[in-house]
Each structure stands twice: as structure tokens, then as C-alpha cells.
Point group: D2
Chain length 383, copies 4
């Protein structure tokens, strides 16, 4: 391989997303056949001093910060990666943009479209690369589906159908009250956390959404404070379902919930088109099902269960022999490698990756879902 350039990284967050992103930064140099860049892990920031120190040691970040502002002062940092909670997305990203740093921000980009817009504008004004971390665009099977759709072989799309079912909130005690149950901090519940993933896949795979009709539910209106045990009012949704219309005439359904017992991480995508259909499930992310209306011989026509693990499938030449599956964490390797490539080679993050524009659009639809549920009317998504 040709020697790739280095790129200085500063990360906010050491928990779930901090771990997933750090793992990607560390694997890119030695596992990709042609790493676009070698990440230099310069700084990691987080509120708890002991925890951020432990994370820095564990992942090999040079400095640990309890204030992201200090970290931004390190001029060697070229990419600012924000894996913090939803209410800590906008301010740090805007400051980082103003400091001329490229941006990666976890989803949902913001708590509302208005907030997202300020982030988008800052990024655009700064002229930096920006990505919203919709990592499921980087599942090989999803990219393969995208390529099939883009090739035109499937023809006109009629139906899009997506559900994202989890079970974390089925019972009162199972999920104590956290920031995720507080509208002020989280913006929304299942809508922002799970829903924006499938909203983004709808836009990525099918196109612009023009209208939304929706229902929301908070099945359990209070949750126990994990310290005091006292009941606290939940101000976000446990679940939503929405009907959507696409600019290209297709219709769609979206549903996300944290109250679906037995569904650990069940994100399911279906597309029905003129010449065939697609099906995908995140818990079997190495698989894709495709039906072609005209496959021959007709006696054996059916849903092809594809192991998306061949060298000719997206990204898979970097990994293992066919049938040797990859896991959820690999989506971040692909995502971040794409961003690094865009940064060091000045390529466009879109359409293969999601930009802050895509993050903003997802927030627009998330807002429309809430508005429709409140007003009982279909809502137009602003163009």
C-alpha cells in the first residue's frame, strides 16, 4: 500500500459511541487494503475525569480533556468527532467548525431541525467536510441495495417499509429515567434515536420525502430516577409510526419503538419495485434478500438469500473470505474510512455518506412526525 497521510482526531464521548468510533480509528490503518489516512488519536473529551482518563489510556489518545473547548485548541486536530448526548451536539460542532475542523457528529444531528440548521450553516460557512453518523448507510448489504437501485435494474419504486424495533422500554423498571427520556436533552425518544436511522435510509435508498402522517405513544408515562427511585415524567415518545410519501411517487411506512419485546435490534427494510424487491434485517446484517421478477428459469424464481460477503460486495475485499461474517462494529470502519477519504482527497461526503444536510433533513422529518401526531393532520415536509 502507498503510505497514507495522517489525520489528527479529537473525540468527544467515551461511552458506547466513543468505543465504536475509537475502534474504527484503530482498525482502519491495519485492516483496510488501502487506508485513506492514518488517524492520530490526539484528544478525547468527556465530563467524568476518571472515565475520560481511562478511555484515553485504553484507546491511546494522547490527551484527555474534561472540556471540549480545550481540546479544540489543539491545532493538530483536523477532525472533530462528536459522540456526545443529543443536547451536546450543536455547540461543540459549531465551535469546531469555526476552528476550521472537519466534523463528524452522531445522530440525530440535533434535537430539532432548527438546531440542526445552525450546525449545517456553521459547517457550510467554514467550508469543512461534515458527516452525520448514519452508519447503516455503510452496511455492505445496504450499500449493495443502494447500488442495485441506482443502477435502475429494479425500476420504479412502489413501496418502502422500515421498522426499527427494540425492547429497552417494555417495562417500568427495565429502563430508568435518563437524559434519553427528557425532551429538553434528547429532543425526542424513539423518533430521534431509532427513527432517524430509518428516515435516513428512506432518503438514501428512495429519495426525498414530501409528506408525513404519524402517531406517537408513550406507553409508560413515568420512569424511576435511578438514584432516588422516584417516578419522573417521561417527556419523549416510546414509539412512533408514520406514513410517508416520496417525491418520486413511492409510498412508505416507518415505525420505531423501544417497546417491542423480543426485538433486540431489529431494523428491517423492505423495498418493492417494478422489477423486483429487496429485504434486509440488521440482526443479520451480512444478508440481503432480493427478488427479481424475471429471473430464469421461472420454476426456481424466488427470494435470493445473499450472503453479502463476497470480494465483489462493497468493502468486503478488505475483510475475510466469503461466509466469514462481519459484525455491527464494521459499519463504523467503513463510515469513518469514507470520511477520511473525503477529507484527505477532497471528495464529497454525499451521496454515499450522510452530511449535516442529511442530518438536517432527518430532523425535519422527525419534527414533522411530532407535528402530525399532535395535529392529527398530514404534514408537508419543507422542500
Amino acid at each position: 500500500m502507498t503510505t497514507p497521510p495522517t489525520l489528527g482526531i479529537g473525540l468527544v464521548g467515551y461511552a458506547f459511541m466513543g468505543k465504536a468510533h475509537s475502534n474504527a480509528f484503530k482498525k482502519i490503518p491495519y485492516l483496510l487494503n488501502q487506508p485513506p489516512a492514518i488517524p492520530l488519536l490526539l484528544g478525547i473529551a468527556g465530563r467524568d475525569p476518571a472515565k475520560v482518563q481511562e478511555a484515553a489510556g485504553r484507546y491511546g489518545y494522547q490527551h484527555a480533556y474534561t472540556d471540549w473547548r480545550e481540546m479544540l485548541a489543539d491545532e493538530r486536530i483536523q477532525l472533530f468527532d462528536n459522540g456526545a448526548a443529543n443536547n451536546a451536539h450543536a455547540k461543540p460542532c459549531i465551535a469546531a467548525a469555526q476552528a476550521g475542523k472537519h466534523l463528524l457528529c452522531e445522530k440525530p444531528l440535533a434535537r430539532s431541525a432548527a438546531e440542526a440548521q445552525t450546525m449545517l450553516e456553521a459547517a457550510q460557512k467554514a467550508g469543512v467536510k461534515h458527516m452525520t453518523a448514519f452508519n447503516y448507510r455503510f452496511v455492505p448489504a445496504i450499500r449493495q441495495a443502494y447500488q442495485l437501485i441506482q443502477s435502475g435494474k429494479l425500476g420504479k419504486i412502489y413501496h418502502f417499509r422500515a421498522t426499527y424495533l427494540q425492547e429497552s422500554s417494555v417495562s417500568y423498571n427495565q429502563r430508568p429515567f435518563t437524559w434519553r427520556a427528557d425532551k429538553e436533552q434528547a429532543g425526542s425518544g424513539a423518533i430521534g434515536d431509532l427513527g432517524t436511522h430509518i428516515i435516513d435510509l428512506a432518503r438514501f435508498l428512495v429519495g426525498n420525502v414530501t409528506t408525513v402522517s404519524a402517531l406517537t405513544r408513550t406507553f409508560i408515562p413515568q420512569r424511576p430516577n435511578p438514584q432516588t427511585g422516584l417516578a419522573v415524567k417521561v417527556t419523549v415518545d416510546d414509539a412512533f409510526a408514520a406514513l410517508i410519501e416520496f417525491e418520486n411517487g413511492a409510498m412508505g411506512t416507518l415505525e420505531a419503538t423501544r417497546s417491542a419485546a423480543g426485538n433486540l435490534n431489529n431494523q428491517s427494510i423492505e423495498i418493492n419495485a417494478e422489477n423486483g424487491s429487496l429485504r434486509f434485517n440488521l440482526e443479520r446484517l451480512n444478508e440481503l434478500e432480493v427478488y427479481w421478477c424475471d429471473s430464469e428459469p421461472r420454476e426456481t424464481r424466488g427470494w435470493s438469500q445473499i450472503s453479502v460477503t463476497e470480494r465483489y460486495h462493497p468493502w468486503m475485499e478488505n475483510w475475510w473470505p466469503h461466509g466469514h461474517i462481519i459484525g455491527w462494529e464494521h459499519t463504523f470502519v467503513h463510515e469513518i474510512a469514507h470520511l477520511l477519504d473525503c477529507i484527505v482527497n477532497d471528495k464529497n461526503v454525499a451521496p454515499l455518506g450522510a452530511t449535516f444536510e442529511d442530518g438536517y433533513q432527518a430532523n425535519l422529518i422527525a419534527d414533522a412526525i411530532q407535528t402530525s401526531a399532535e395535529t392529527r393532520h398530514q404534514v408537508d415536509v419543507p422542500a
Copy 2:
């Protein structure tokens, strides 16, 4: 077995539904351990003289009629079974009710709730037994699901999710223009034909529906006349999707389409509740998936893939040893046996079977789907 009474049958329709119902009438006497009644196949009616004659010979009906009015004159006929097209449901059923005959009518009960109401009133006034042929209530796995819900073991229901996907209308030439594409004759398209099945299952399994928000689509606006080849305007929907709210607080999604390539008869039902979840697919109708939140040991907790073929599963003691699956046609045997039992033993058709009241309620929701799609508003279902 004790000798069961006989019951005189008169059937309208010799095509798809005529075949399915006739098969049930013929199998009940020799395959059920305790047949509730022995159907006497007295008359069959249909418009095409040659075809109705052929059907009478094939199935063993004593008389063939080209006018159902004549058939109704046979006083030995106790059960009038209407398997005709949607626009030939009301008038014959009402006349039969007035003649004091018990009623079985294919779904959708009528082209509209208003029309259904006239049928319901006639049946009630006549004091006869009446059933709408929502045969999927009589799938053993569905009945088993119903029993689990009724037992309370699943707890409060949060989510109901149903799709009924077929592919008959994917392309222009695949489905020529028939009465099914004409609103005047059919009332609606996928809504009435496929949608009312899952509407009824929503009501059967979860309960009353209070609101509806919906989208509809006619993807291919014209279809070729099968004789002339000329394009004819389609006046019904190819597909719909709806959000529903239940009286008990659950939320639901419904979708039916004839434009989902690769889906031959894909009716899928999911329920998520407080203590567990259920999944069912009609193309594997002998199977049910159940998840219990508290199953032990927790290391092996998962979705139980149940072969609903044990002697202790609904109806299965009548059939074959476990694992020896039954087919789609068997649902009609169970359904009609239930109706015969209700007639000869004066039992209630509901709640296990669907009455004309249930057929009317399904039409009300079907109407609400169309209204919501037109008005872009959420619609209240009349109580």
C-alpha cells in the same frame, strides 16, 4: 361419533371461493372427529350455465341455478353461502335472510359500510345466524394467538403490525382490467380484498379501532381490457397503508398491496405486548413465533418457533400427526364447521367467528381509510 344432523346448503359462486367452500363442505363429514352437521349440497348458483353445471357435477350439488333467486326458493336450503363478487353480496344475502336462511358471505361483506349495514340489519331482523368469511380467524396459529392474548398472559398490548402483500398488480399486463379494478363493482381494491382481512384480525386479536390515518396509491392508473386490449381507467387502489389507534391504547399499522413483487400471499402479523410478543406469516401458516420476556433460563430466551401441529393446538386433533402440516384450504373447514355448529346447536358465531357485525365494522374502517387518504386528516371510526 354421534350421528350429526344434516343441513341444507345453497351456494352462490363456482370459482375460487366456490371451490374452497365446497371442499370444506365435503371434508367436514369425514375428517372432523365430531362433525357438527352433515352438509347436504342442495344447490349451486352462478351466471355461466355451463360452468355452474360443471361445478354442480364436480362437487355433487343436486341442482345448478343461473339465478340465485330460484335457488332460494328451495325450502330445504338452510344455509345460504355467498361466494360471489363484491357487488353481488348485499341483494342475495338480504333476500336469503328474508327467506329465513342462515348466512355465510365472503369478504369484504359489502362495497361500503352503508351497504354492509343493510345486510347486517336484514340478518338481525330475520334472527338467522350470519358469518362474514374472515377465514384467517380459523388458522390454528391465529386462534392459538387469540387464546394466548385472551388468557392475559401477554399483558397489555402495545403494538399491532400487519401487512398483506401480494404481487398481482406489479406490471401493466400482469393483471388485466376486471371487476376488481372497478370501484362500482368492487368498492375498493387492495383495501377491501386484502385489507379487510388484516382489519378483521386487528379487531379480533386486539380490539376496537378508534382512529385511522391512511395513504392509498394506484401505481398503474390503467389496465388493459382482456378482450379488446384497450386501456381502461382503474378506479380502485393498488395499495394502502394506515395508522390505527385502538380503544385499549395500543397503536397499529396496516398495509396491503398488490404491487409487492415476490410476495405471493404474504400476510404478516406482529403483536408486541407487556410480557411478550407474537409473529405470524400466512405463507407458513402452521408456524407461530412467540417470545416471553421471562422465559427461563435466560441464556436460552428467544423467539419460540412453534409448529402449531400438536394435538393440543386448536383443531389439530382432527388432522394428522404433529409436523404433518395442513394447508390454506383447511381454514375453511374450521370456519364452516364453526358456523354449522352455531346453527345446529344455536351457539353464537362471535367472538370466535366473524359475524355481519364484524363485516360491517371492517367496512367502516375500510371507508375511513379511503376518507383519510382523501382528506389528509386522521379520521375517527364511528363507535
Copy 3:
């Protein structure tokens, strides 16, 4: 339809197989588009006078007999159908052949190859049609697989793999001692009961078997007498596994057991060939999986999950619209319709159906399995 000829039927056995065969006789006239013949249910024989009388009434047989010899005296009977226990196959079939009656006999044809040979010779000498009831040849998916293999499209076969797993004998009390556990009456255990089905499918789909190496097991050496509760020695196998070689160079594995918990009727067939592969499972008998090495585009190459329910699939034009599945019982309709067609139109039962020759060959292999297990040597199957 043209009016088919009638054919007089005499059946031995009123239990499981009597029910399955009677159902087929009754359905053929009204459900097949072109019934080859109309069975006349003339006689049914069985040892228990009350039960055979009940069965005659239930299925509509004109006469009930407690001695099959008397039934054979009815000259109108043209087809003698033997659904009795294994030790009551040979004598009645040979007598029926001598009386000039066509023969249908349940599997295993006999308790040993030597016994089967006497039946085969009697049938051949009498010049009657003869069929061994290997009904799984008449599963549409299996027939479809056969056609794909015969067409040459799959190329040279490398592997055949079949298991037939049931759970009836997992525990001591679950399966009391019956004739099936007694070598004198049954000939063998899982080998004859389950094993001969997959032995026959090996021969039907791949070809002649030349060698056998095998293991057998009787996991629970005694069973309780259902009347007395006393333990009785089991003299047959609970399970066997075998390696086989085919004349055409393919290798195969066979396994059947009654001790596989959770497997209700799990018959699984796999074939790997030069240009593709096949998979089938009896509990999902409407489905077939096919892999083609050269399917295009390669990005969507995978196992095609086929719903074998299209009008162009074997027999399916007689039944219901696609995706409306058939059940286990339908295999008997196809099987017996084939035999009726062969009888009234003087066609060959083989190769599509199994003859007594095929039954004899299956017994030869069943014997070889037992010999190999005893001697610990590979055994040549007599040519």
C-alpha cells in the same frame, strides 16, 4: 372435464394411513382439474369390528370387513390398497395380486428384502400395476427437484444428504411398546419407518446405491407395555446413520431417528451438484431452495427461496392461487391420482412413482444398513 372411468377400491387399514388414503380417494374426483378415474369406495377391512364399521360410515365405503380375504372376493374391486402394519403387507398383497387386483402398499414394502421379493414377484407374475406408497415423491417441491436434476441443468451430483428426524421416542414413557418396537412385526424401527422414505428419495433423485456403511442405536432398550406397564424389550433400532455411495459417483449420508427432541417431522434433503444445489424440508413442504452457480447478476447470487405454489409447478394448477399453501395430505392425492392414471390408461408407475421394485430396493438397502451396523464393515448393495 371429460367423464373419467370409475375404479373399484378395497382398502386395508382404518387408522393413520387409512385416513390419508381415504381422503385422497375422496378429493381426487372434485379437486383435480382432470381426475384420471373416479374411485368407488367398495370395501374397507380391519381387525376391530367397531372401528372398521365406523370408518366405513365415515368415509363412505360400501362394506366393512374384518377379514381382508373376504374383501378380496369382491370382484368389483380393482385396486387393493394395503395400509396395514408391516407384518400384514406381504400375505394380503400377494393374495390380491393372485386375484388380479392392482396393488398399492404402504412403506416399508416388507420387513425384509426377502419378504419384499415375494411381493414383487407376485405382482409381476400377475401383471398388475403395483406401487409402494413413498408419498414424498409426490411433494411438488420434490417433483420439481427431480425435474431440475433430470433436465441436466444441475450437472453431475456430488453430494446427497438426508435426515429424517422425529422425537417420538425421546423418553421412556413417551412411546409405549407397540408393534413398531418389535422386530418380528415391524422388521426394523426408524430404518423401515422413516429411513425407507429417504432411501427412496436418494434413489429417486440421485440413482442406484452401491455401498452402505451404517450405525444403529437403541437408546432406550425397554418400553412400557401400555396395558400392564411392564417393561418390554425393544428389538428394533431407535436411530440409524449411514454413508452411501451411488453408482454415478456421488456420495451420500442418511440418518433417521425417533430420538431427536424438537423435530416433529423434520425430513431434510440436500443435493450439491456441479452447477448448483438444492435444499428441502418436509415441515415447509411448499418451499424449495435452489442455488445456481452462474446466476446473474453475481451481486445477488444466493439461495433462491421458492414458493412451489405457482400454476407451473407440479400439480399446483389443481389447487389454489400461488402462496396459498397445500398440506401433507395433498401428497397422497397426487400419488394416488398417478396410480389411478397408470391403471386406467395403462401407463408405467415408474419412474415417477415407486413400484414394488422400488420398495424391494429400499428393503435391500435397509437390510444392508442392519448388516453393516452389525458387522462394522461396508456392505455392497446387491445389483
Copy 4:
């Protein structure tokens, strides 16, 4: 986490296994909650100077060697990891043992049991830790299965059934002649490469094997030399199937092949026992299916489809939230972490990991398979 000790590593091989092992060494320090040791990547050895240099740079090994003897001279190396071809297992491992280094060797341990024995004796004499890299013991679902069996909850085991199906050799040109097709270099074909994995799982999950009966096949007797294109004689098997008996009375079947079209990496394991059954498939390695004979309520008894991704499943607390699947590569992380733990804390590699003793036992069975296939007799496995 407490600061773990470091451990010096020297690796032979930079290809497939070199990549998998290096990845594990690199992930252990930052992804495991409590890494047992921090591997120091001191040396990597391989024949091609450019390739070994590239690998050293890529993975961060301090030195690249073209002769493993030189690498062994580095006294800081404590663990010698052999990922070379089968004919380069014995000599380096024995030399490393003599140099007092702990040993990890890829499977099959050797080309024959005799060769394996020399390795085992060297390791035992040196008193070092030794592991054969049967990584599938370290799939969470397999470890979970092992724990269920060990707990006694499944009861007496009746059946073990394993297949390992790949498709690399289906056609003549697909797999050119390499060292893997040469008995002198590889020892055997599918037997050693795929078969020893399932042999080891048989021993790990069920216990000692006492007898073997087997068939082998070389479907395509020649392969093209990749340089010259000339046909070269294949001297190893493409496939084998075997019947095995276990010391504890269970019976088993084993089959491995490189000629099963459509099977990319299809390793399938089934166990049927007194109280339940297990099923596993490597292409869905995050899943395990378990059936309990006595699960209640009986109406929902079935195969539990378990997502082995909960924090309480083996190793999973180190990874991601439930339903966020891991991949094939993670088995090496678990395996090598176990070995490191055994080395630095002086624990026993067995029974959870496979030692050279286990590697030798697998070679004994592999030899018995070949002997049985040649002699057509059942072969006793030496105790």
C-alpha cells in the same frame, strides 16, 4: 481496569491467519473490559521478504524475518504463534518449545497424528502452555451450548450431527492446484482443513470418540497449476463423511466438503439429547437454537431462536449492546485472550481451549477417517 502485564509475541505467517491473529492481538488491549495481557508485537516471519515487511508495517510488528529461526532467537518473545501452512507446523513449534516459548498453532495441528505427537511431546517436555487454534470453541453460541451441556440440563446426549460445507472446489478452474491439494504438504484436504474443526467440536461438546466409519471423495482428480495451467494430480480429498461413536453412547455424523455449491462457510452443528436439542450455524454465528422438551406453556413450546448477544452470554459484555452482532474475527479475540490469560496467570488451556493434546486427538480421528475410507471397515480410535 488493572494494568495487565505485557507478553512478547512472535508470529509466523502474514496471510489469512496472520491477519486474523494480528487483529486479535491488537484488539485485546482496548476492547476487552479486563485484558489479561498486553501483547507486544515483536516479530513476524514469512518467506516473501516484501510481504512480510508489508505485514510488519501494517500490523506494527517490530521486526520482520524471513526465517523463523532468527525470530526465535529474540528472547523477549514469550508466545510463538504459528499460522503457517500445515507442513510448517511441527518443526517451528518444536523449536519454539525447546526455546521455552508458549505455543499457539493453527489447525490441523499436523499432517498426521504421528507428526502431531512429536509436537505434543515437545510442548509437554518444555512445560509451556500450548493451544491448537480451534477458534470455534470461542464462538459465544458454542460456548453457551457447552455450558448448557455441562450443566446437565440437556441430559444424556443421543445425537451429534455436524457438517462443514464450502464451495471452493466445485469446478476445475475455480480452485487451482496449491499446497492444499498436495498430501505431502497438507496431509489431507477437507478432512484436515474443515473436518478437524467439527471433529474438535464433537470432542468439546460431546466427548471422546471411539470408532469411525468413513467415505472420502476427490470429485475432480486434477487441478490446473496456477502458473503453467497444466493439470496436476490432486492427492487429497475434496470431501469426507463419517459415522462416529462416542464413549458416552452417543452416535454422530460428520461431513466436510469443498464441493457444496452455495455453501460459503456453512458449518452446522446439531445435538439431540434426552431433555432438549441444540442447533447452530456458523454463517449466523450470533444465533443459537435450543429446544426444551418441558418448556411451558406447552402451546408455545418450540425452538427458541436465541440472539447470543446479551451481556450475560459468554464474552458479550465486552462488546456492544444486545442485537449488535459480532463477526467471525471476534472468535480469535476470545481465543487468544484465553491463551494469554492461561499464560500470565498459569491457568489450564483445557478444557475451554484446545491444547496440542486436543490437536493430536483430532489428527488421530482424521487419520482414522482416511484409514476407514481405504479399508471399508470401521476403525477404532486409539484410546
